[in-house]
């Protein structure tokens, strides 16, 4: 074996010593995705804030906080059930992990149902992407873009939760996969913590 081969071997073994930050590669990939998605949502919210700040007749169409409060409660509770799913998976309780993950998915479906019902209510009141009865037409496009991006993430999360839970139950996935889909679900909840105050609560009709 030549000196060059030895050097190459030394380099590659150093490179393959372990994954970065000593966490599984799949988990690191999910963290990178979360960082990237944070930028996407932040850009949407900054654009929304820019439009709201620069538009004098910004509408305040929300008369009740009941619906958004219930949606927030459901999503926060689903984070707890997701945590319980990850915890039971780590302990090795397969049935428990499956049950909690499916409960989380059900909560996501409930959230999506309430969200779509709210959308239909606003559309029924005459709100579209480009006009609404209360003020600037920009409101509709901004509102539907921000909340639409979020509900897309929720629906994708529900599908991912169901697929991962079923595959975990059949033994094809392990506790790490439940944890990774859990990270995504917590992120979806985290985004909602910013959407609620800026898109709903700052636009309450007092």
């Amino acid at each position: 074996m030549s000196q060059a081969d030895l050097t190459m071997e030394g380099h590659s073994s150093a490179l393959m010593a372990g994954p970065p930050f000593a966490i599984p590669t799949k988990k690191l990939a999910m963290w990178l995705f979360i960082i990237a998605d944070t930028m996407t949502f932040s850009a949407c919210l900054v654009a929304y804030g820019f439009l709201r700040n620069a538009t004098p007749d910004w509408p305040r169409p929300f008369h009740s906080i009941v619906n958004v409060a219930v949606m927030t409660f459901i999503l926060l509770t689903s984070s707890l059930t997701m945590f319980l799913g990850v915890r039971t998976a780590r302990i090795g309780d397969k049935a428990g992990a499956f049950r909690w993950t499916m409960i989380t998915a059900l909560a996501g479906i409930g959230f999506a149902f309430l969200h779509i019902r709210e959308w239909l209510g606003l559309i029924g009141e005459g709100m579209t992407l480009f006009k609404n009865p209360w003020g600037t037409g920009l409101f509709g496009s901004a509102f539907f873009s921000v909340t639409g991006l979020h509900i897309t993430h929720v629906i994708a999360g529900v599908i991912a939760l169901i697929v991962v839970a079923l595959r975990y139950k059949r033994g094809r996935y392990n506790a790490d996969d439940i944890e990774i889909v859990g990270l995504y679900w917590h992120f979806v909840d985290l985004v909602w913590m910013f959407v609620v105050p800026f898109v709903y609560l700052l636009n309450l009709a007092h």
């Binding site: 966490i23 944070t38 926060l76 984070s79 997701m82 945590f83 780590r90 990270l183 105050p197």
Partner: protein, 104 residues
């Protein structure tokens, strides 16, 4: 196995407290919405609460606190840097508000 034993020992008490804190913070945002203050004050207060809420969720529910310090620093520093870099356009939105879009 070590992780499983640690999870069993830890219990869920701490995480129930985290969940209740998150509910309380979310409730606080709803209370702020009904305060008799200006929109900019309301925005600042709600943003502060949302940042605390997100921090609690990331550290405890997403277990960032118990990950390697390198990952924690990477996520926080990188994210904050890019988020701050996005704020360059606000002055222009104030220009549009105060000049009706006709100022140069």
């Amino acid at each position: 196995m070590a992780i499983a034993a640690e999870q069993r020992r830890e219990g869920i008490g701490k995480y129930l407290v985290v969940y209740l804190c998150l509910l309380a913070l979310a409730g606080l945002q709803f209370l702020i919405a009904y305060q008799d203050i200006t929109a900019s004050q309301m925005f600042r207060r709600m943003l502060s609460v949302a940042v605390v809420e997100a921090g609690v969720a990331v550290m405890f529910f997403m277990h960032l606190w118990s990950e390697k310090r390198g990952l924690l620093l990477f996520v926080i520093i990188f994210t904050i840097f890019v988020l701050l870099s996005m704020q360059f356009g606000w002055s222009d939105s104030f220009r549009l508000t105060h000049c009706g879009g006709y100022c140069s």
